[in-house]
Amino acid sequence: MTTIKDILFRVLLVALLLVAFNFIYKAFFFEDDLQEHSGLINLVRTVVNDNCEIVYVGESSNNTARSDDADKRMISDFVADYFPTVKMGNITKPASHAGIYYELLRNIPEVSPVKTVVVTLNLRSFNAQWIYSDLETPLQKSIVLLKDRPALYNRFMLSFKGYDIKTNEEREKQFKHMWRHSPLLLRDDFPYENVAKWDKGTAEKGIRNADGSINYELTTLACHYIKGYGFSIDFSSNPRVTDFDNIVRLAEERNWNLVFNLMAENIQKADSLVGDDLVFLMRRNRDKLIERYQKNGVLVVDNLEAVEDEQFIDQNWTTEHYAEKGRRIIAANVAKALKGWYPTQFVDVAFIPDTISTKP
């Protein structure tokens, strides 16, 4: 009996100590830790401190420009041109995705000037290679302290690596497993049942030059497109869907106007390198996402096919990095969508795409 009493007393003592530690940590150490390990929070603070009413959330698609762009400003800046009287800010974190956006948006105080949130909806971020990317571990680590839990508990999770921490090899195993086991759900006579086989088949067949020899550069790029877009979104298991669902729920709680800005992909290149089947998958995934989120009251801006091939900065890789004209087109589409909520503040910017240089 004495032993049980002793143990209970000590357990209680530890519990009390932890409560006290939480106060001490919050008061003296938390801010330093935030700055050191979760500097992302400053992006949120800037938006709040600047009293921004519209917040544009995105990754490198927002702030990447081509060297010959006359105007190298971000997509969010171009959107802001349409609403000169509305304060607009951006939260831009390269290589991030909806899971990170959710944590950042959640850190906007419940009472804040923010009324409208534009979130980048990147089709590629639903693919296995991105979901299980080697960038995921540092990204997950950077948001541990931002989670909605007691500060000391968050620090505990950071110390004991209580987040999605995996080696690059483990991540590779994960996405390769997905490539092998996720059905493509394409036409019945499609020769490949999954991405792994499609990728292998394309690599073996190769893309031919005019003289019949294999063009290895184009073949590699075609395989990359297959791995980037060759998937069929499964709403029941794709973690990115959960992330976007969380954002929808958060926007409802905060009473925000929510826009999902579905980014442009290089459909022309996908078509020329791989063919109709890949384009079909891209379009079907787009349609599924638009249908799902529009049903949930989100305004989805469909930019999937809005930007032409030559406006994509990276011609040898799949990215959503656009030259000025591409960024302006996307901004114009977003602005038009926002006009519904800000009809009086909207100013039609004289944007004539043809006047902008299109040559890299």
Binding site: I7, L152, M157, L158, F160
Partner: protein
């Protein structure tokens, strides 16, 4: 499963609680299952390698006990060779292969190139040696063979010491695994103290230092001499705190259930010479080499030249045990050389002969410093990726006297390192759990509080796996 992970913080209380809830006759199975789960958190399929080793040595020991004469020896050899073969394939094959290729190029003979890509099973060297010690002890007649396959498997797989030791002897662990353990508040308390102390030492001291060591070893040419010396000093404590921390947690986990594992460290950096250092550093390994290799070679009851050979061979093997790389072999050889050199010059450094107490203390102090400095420099070979890297780090100490960047060390790192050094010195030849017994409740709990707070708030956020996992 890592001791410093969320999974382990859930695993440990469940396993310990279930251990005491279950009747004695089911406990071996419970611990064996828990150990399998613990091991399979790394690479699940490698448990079969462990199983192969277990089966070989289990059967061999029974046959050894049943037979005598030449047959007995034959079974021992079969067992040792097969167990070592597993170790060789996974750990040394590529090293052997690379060196044979290199030799074939130099000597001009043909050697076919083999490419084998294995991930070294975690703790393979540890449980191989533990398994070998059992067979050898049975052969020597010091231990009866264990008939219960489950209990023998548990002896090899006992989760607290499965991956990085202490390398136990059957006379200590196997006997305890058969004993009925009753719940003891004192054991639990001592076990938890050790776990707390071990986690603190690993997570707060070793891992915070580790970040600076990595910087230095990544680009030794860009730091000035003082910073490199700082890095070398830090590595001495990183490896100590890392391994000592792990061993302490292991001992604590076993202690909570009433099992006593051997101590693996006793203030090694307070040693007066290399010989004493090895009596205080990784004790379970050094005694293993002493008992099964050094004594078998004749120990010190041989001619002096043969003794020198014995010492060098034991240290080289010890180096090789650590890793399949010339750096480890040279590291062991360097320790052996210093050991031999100290033997021949021991009269110069023998402080006990000084009658004046103050002078004796001064000499003792300088002997301690001398040993620490030697060990610290030899650690370069242990930490470096290859011999060229080691040479580069070593030379940078002397080369970069007026060039290079300064290593900027966070104040909290110094504070925690200093705290550890003070506490470790206070614990001289004692253990944290026993030392705590004699402290007042308030002091004890203040220390626990500081450690808990330190572990949560000041642990490194970088991922530093236990250094000895690679062995």
């Amino acid at each position: 499963m890592l001791f410093n992970s969320i999974e382990f913080l859930i695993f440990f209380p469940i396993v310990t609680l279930l251990f005491f809830v279950l009747p004695h006759k089911y406990r071996w199975f419970h611990l064996l299952a828990a150990s399998c789960v613990f091991y399979m958190f790394f690479i699940p399929q490698y448990i079969f390698i462990l199983l192969v080793t277990i089966v070989i040595d289990y059967v061999a020991a029974i046959w050894i006990a049943k037979t005598d004469g030449k047959k007995r020896k034959r079974y021992l050899v079969i067992s040792v060779v097969s167990t070592c073969a597993v170790l060789f394939v996974f750990k040394y094959f590529n090293f052997f292969n690379d060196n044979m290729l290199l030799l074939s190029h130099k000597m001009g003979f043909y050697y076919p190139e083999h490419v084998v890509s294995f991930i070294l099973p975690i703790g393979l060297s540890f449980h191989t040696f533990q398994s070998l010690s059992y067979v050898i002890e049975v052969y020597r007649g010091n231990q009866k063979p264990e008939k219960h396959f489950g209990i023998y498997s548990l002896y090899v797989m006992f989760y607290p010491q499965l991956v990085t030791g202490p390398i136990e002897r059957p006379q200590n662990l196997l006997v305890q695994l058969r004993q009925e353990k009753t719940f003891s508040y004192q054991n639990l308390s001592h076990g938890l103290r050790l776990i707390l102390w071990g986690l603190f030492v690993k997570m707060v001291v070793a891992d915070n230092i580790g970040a600076y060591v990595d910087q230095i070893y990544a680009k030794p040419e860009s730091f000035n001499s003082l910073s490199i010396l700082n890095g070398l000093f830090f590595y001495s404590f990183q490896i100590y705190c890392d391994f000592f921390g792990y061993s302490t947690i292991a001992i604590g986990c076993a202690k909570a259930m009433g099992y006593n594992l051997m101590d693996n460290f006793k203030n090694p950096y307070l040693a007066q010479n290399i010989r004493e250092f090895w009596q205080r550093w990784h004790i379970s390994l050094s005694t293993w080499f002493r008992d099964y290799v050094y004594f078998s070679l004749g120990g010190n009851r041989v001619k002096i030249s043969r003794w020198v050979f014995n010492i060098l061979i034991v240290f080289v093997l010890s180096g090789l045990w650590h890793g399949a790389n010339w750096t480890f072999i040279l590291w062991g050889f360097a320790h052996g050389l210093v050991h031999v050199a100290e033997h021949f010059t021991k009269k110069i450094f023998k402080w006990k002969e000084f009658t004046d107490k103050t002078l004796a203390s001064v000499v003792r102090f300088f002997n301690g410093i001398k040993t620490f400095v030697i060990v610290t420099f030899i650690w370069i070979l242990f930490r470096a990726t290859d011999v060229h890297h080691a040479k580069n780090v070593f030379l940078s100490v002397f080369r970069n006297t007026s060039v290079g960047d300064q290593l900027h060390v966070d104040m909290k790192t110094w504070i925690f390192l200093a705290l550890f050094i003070v506490l470790d010195t206070l614990l001289f030849n004692n253990r944290f759990d026993r030392w705590c017994d004699k402290r007042h409740f308030v002091l004890r709990w203040s220390m626990y509080a500081l450690m808990i707070f330190g572990i949560i708030v000041f642990s490194s956020v970088n991922n530093f796996p236990f250094i000895y996992f690679q062995f």
